[in-house]
Subunit: 360 residues, 2 copies
């Protein structure tokens, strides 16, 4: 057995107000390439105070990107790359300010600025040929773990799959809990639950180990403090904890693997465009037979925060749609293997997976 | 307030048997400099099976170093550096296989191979001028957190102080719990308690935050499983956990600060040469007024494993010795500030510190 050799984020700044250190953090990097930075910012902030605090210089390119319409696509990243290079050549670095989608766009862009052709060529493990340029992530919503992961998940014409390699990992992350204060309660819930589900799935499977368990246990403990216990809710103290939980949940799954919920979630998102964290919540509520303790606790958190998750979605899906979704999920064998062990192929058949979709 | 921008270990491999991946891990680095690696190995392994599994090539230099005699010194590192450069020029990298002392020698050596003059010139924060060469750490005893920290603590003619900068951090760490199986029970205890004390001190002070607390809480939980609970002891499962606890304890203190025990410990080690982890244990038992919960739990662990800690050491110390030790401790203001807050100078006077030494 080969043990994973995990690439860390090079540098991490954590603390309230730390976003104000952005310009001094990137200053030494401006000697690379054309001296300019590309800012990829969640469109949500376009007219918000944050847009006045970007600390960008003249020459820097600032793109406000609407990530609500759809999840990041290969075409979107390719077009952005072409536009940036046409404008002013190779920049010094890319800064992503937003949630998981913005993180993924920034990470993918960093790689695609130095690797030729379409990003569809690089969807998979270690297909990227050259190191990307410096890239820095500033999460403004916590939970996906995209700030720490070695993947930049993109939806292409063929597949929803990440550009996955050591170079994908951010050079720098700035974790400023003040930036997640304005997250609407429903998305605060869905994205935090992504962390929660990462840890439940990472724990319950053959690839867990003392490393992934330690990170996962602590992230779960933090999730309970943020979403379940007496002092639960969107408080300053809980926002401090949620940012750490997201990071630790990401490290837990990196050293282990996700499972059934994520496999189904990828199928749902690929075919219907459902946003990742929300899709996970829609699915996880129906997996009590697979993750009994986790789903029970999840439902208590849903109830506590009065989150309305949709039911009976599948009644409008014909067999063709079900088959398409199940095919995407079926083709994620490492997730099924982790969840069900070496005989996973006997359990996770197309029929079994289609029936999981029928639960939704 | 400026938030720390913490440099991570570039890459981490974790798992039983992962040490066997050493040669493939360093292979790509052999294209740097002269193509050879320097192995710094704890002398304990000289005739043990591990010495046959180093995976070194002809041309690589292997030094077995006795770290029992004294803690790493500036002179020792300078002499090693001179010998290595005289032999075959600048190597591709340095590999440290051992405990905290060996880690510190490997880290310091990596820096001193590219920075001129004596290592005494660089004792302090950010005094190192140039990046060192690639360096890789393989802990064979867990607890000091030296595998993750940004310091290489050396004792010089003037001071016991680390070479502290981003370049000090390892490029690669291999965490193989099989390597800590043969640690004698007393040192298994002392070094593990270094982690425990890191977390207690990191928690109890003004520099703590959600990041350091999350790492510290999880490391404390793991310490309880390894040293206190029903299944405590040197089992395979606990060794798996201890390696993770050491890493997390190191991250907790990096994002916060150590406190009174470490300040006193540095004084004791500098003047009497007492080994760090052991010194911490000797001191911590007497700090119940400062860390009441921590010391209570510590004593329960001492009792459980029948560890005999010396008493009444100070009865043989004259005032000159006490003053020397207290002076070293007094000159660590960041530790006293963390522990006692902004009015620390009113509390941690020379008299107060000398009285702490008299407790030993």
């Amino acid at each position: 057995m080969t043990h994973k050799n995990f690439k860390n984020i090079d540098k991490v700044t954590y603390g309230r107000g730390s976003f104000s250190q952005l310009s001094e953090t990137i200053e030494p990097v401006r000697k690379e390439n054309n001296g300019d930075f590309v800012f990829i910012v969640d469109n949500y902030f376009k007219d918000k105070p944050l847009s006045k605090k970007l600390q960008n210089k003249p020459g820097d390119l600032v793109y406000f990107i609407d990530v609500d319409a759809y999840e990041p696509t290969t075409e979107q990243v390719d077009n952005l790359r072409d536009a940036i290079l046409a404008k002013n050549g190779l920049p010094s670095g890319v800064i992503g300010i937003g949630g998981g989608s913005v993180m993924d766009i920034a990470k993918a862009l960093s790689l695609m600025l130095t690797n030729e052709g379409s990003s569809t060529l690089y969807q998979g493990l270690n297909l990227v040929k050259k190191a990307g340029i410096y890239h820095l992530g500033v999460p403004t919503i916590s939970g996906t773990g995209a700030e720490v992961s070695m993947t930049a998940v993109l939806t292409g014409p063929e597949k929803k799959l990440g550009l996955k390699c050591d170079w994908t990992v951010f050079n720098q992350v700035i974790l400023d809990p003040e930036l997640i204060e304005s997250v609407p309660v429903d998305w605060w819930f869905y994205t935090g639950m992504d962390t929660y589900i990462h840890c439940i799935e990472s724990h319950n499977g053959i690839r867990n180990n003392a490393f992934s368990l330690a990170y996962g246990d602590q992230a779960l403990q933090l999730c309970r403090e943020v979403y379940l216990n007496e002092d639960a809710g969107q408080t300053a103290e809980n926002n401090d904890k949620l940012m750490v939980a997201s990071l630790m949940g990401g490290l837990s799954l990196t050293y282990s693997e996700v499972g059934v919920c994520h496999a189904i979630s990828y199928g749902l998102s690929k075919i219907l465009g459902t946003r990742h964290c929300y899709a996970n919540c829609v699915i996880f509520q129906h997996l009590e037979d697979i993750y009994p303790q986790g789903v029970k606790e999840f439902k208590a958190m849903v109830k506590k925060h009065k989150i309305a998750l949709p039911q009976n979605l599948s009644k409008n899906w014909d067999d063709e749609t079900l088959t398409k979704m199940a095919t995407v999920s079926f083709n994620l064998p490492f997730m099924w293997n982790h969840a069900f062990g070496d005989k996973y192929q006997e359990i996770a058949t197309m029929d079994y997976i289609k029936n999981l979709f029928r639960r939704l």
